[in-house]
Symmetry: C2
Subunit: 123 residues, 2 copies
DNA sequence: GCCTTGAATCGAAAAACGTCAACATAGAGG
DNA sequence: CCTCTATGTTGACGTTTTTCGATTCAAGGC
């Protein structure tokens, strides 16, 4: 229940220069997947609901689904996309499945956006 | 040449709690537009090319277009989306059009992602 | 074993998106 | 003015996304 991820913003590439230096095609493609995952109102809300639990926090799907006026398969689909973007992970415990935000992802994303001081950087 | 924007991450809502507290539908919808704008490899590269000029920096479209293997109208279209997401703005000077990153947007976006310490926040 | 309940997967339909060719517009410079 | 170059806009087309209903899978309880 935790394969198919991306591993972008972290270890490998695209971690240091951020938006302050031109991205090459591969970096941009990888990063774009993450932003695309956040680029949907439903997924953003799901993320916020999960992230609001804090570092070690989890949320049961059974708490997420009823917060939307969408079918259960649709929510399940969005959760899958967030998982494929390496933003969250999940675990089944008994009948229920719990989701949490992967530690550090949001901070790395934020660091990418701000990057070094944006004042007269490369230019 | 600078109408149609969003004004999300800044003044009004969604500026303080960030992802650490559940977003309501409106906040999520607005924010999602910004992330969606960044959720495309071409637009991400455009942003990085523009942002790499630093705070007061600008880039001419004539520098952006040839960096991609895409038609000029397509680049123009992507630039428009970035502008509608209030990420960049532009100005025509003579024959050429120059784009720059709106000051503070990236920092505000980053602040939104990290929010207060993500450790045991609401829970 | 056989239901029941929670969640993921499948297949299909409608909507949104990315891209281009064709066209329109804005200035510069004769 | 007329033309040329640099950008933006329009309309169309194929692809991807979002969503649902139906089904399947997982785990517990009877």
């Amino acid at each position: 229940m935790s394969k198919q991820e991306l591993e972008v913003i972290g270890q490998d590439a695209a971690c240091c220069a951020g938006l302050s230096s031109p991205l090459d095609e591969d970096q941009a493609a990888e990063l774009a997947k993450v932003f695309k995952a956040l680029g949907d109102p439903v997924r953003l809300r799901l993320m916020s609901m999960i992230a609001s639990r804090g570092e070690g926090g989890e949320v049961c799907v059974c708490e997420l689904t009823p917060a939307f006026e969408l079918s259960q398969p649709t929510i399940s689909h969005h959760l899958k996309l967030l998982r494929q973007a390496s933003l969250i992970d999940c675990e089944r415990r008994g009948t229920w499945v719990y989701y949490w935000v992967l530690p550090g992802v949001l901070d790395r994303l934020a660091a990418f956006l701000t990057a070094p001081q944006t004042a007269g950087a490369t230019a």
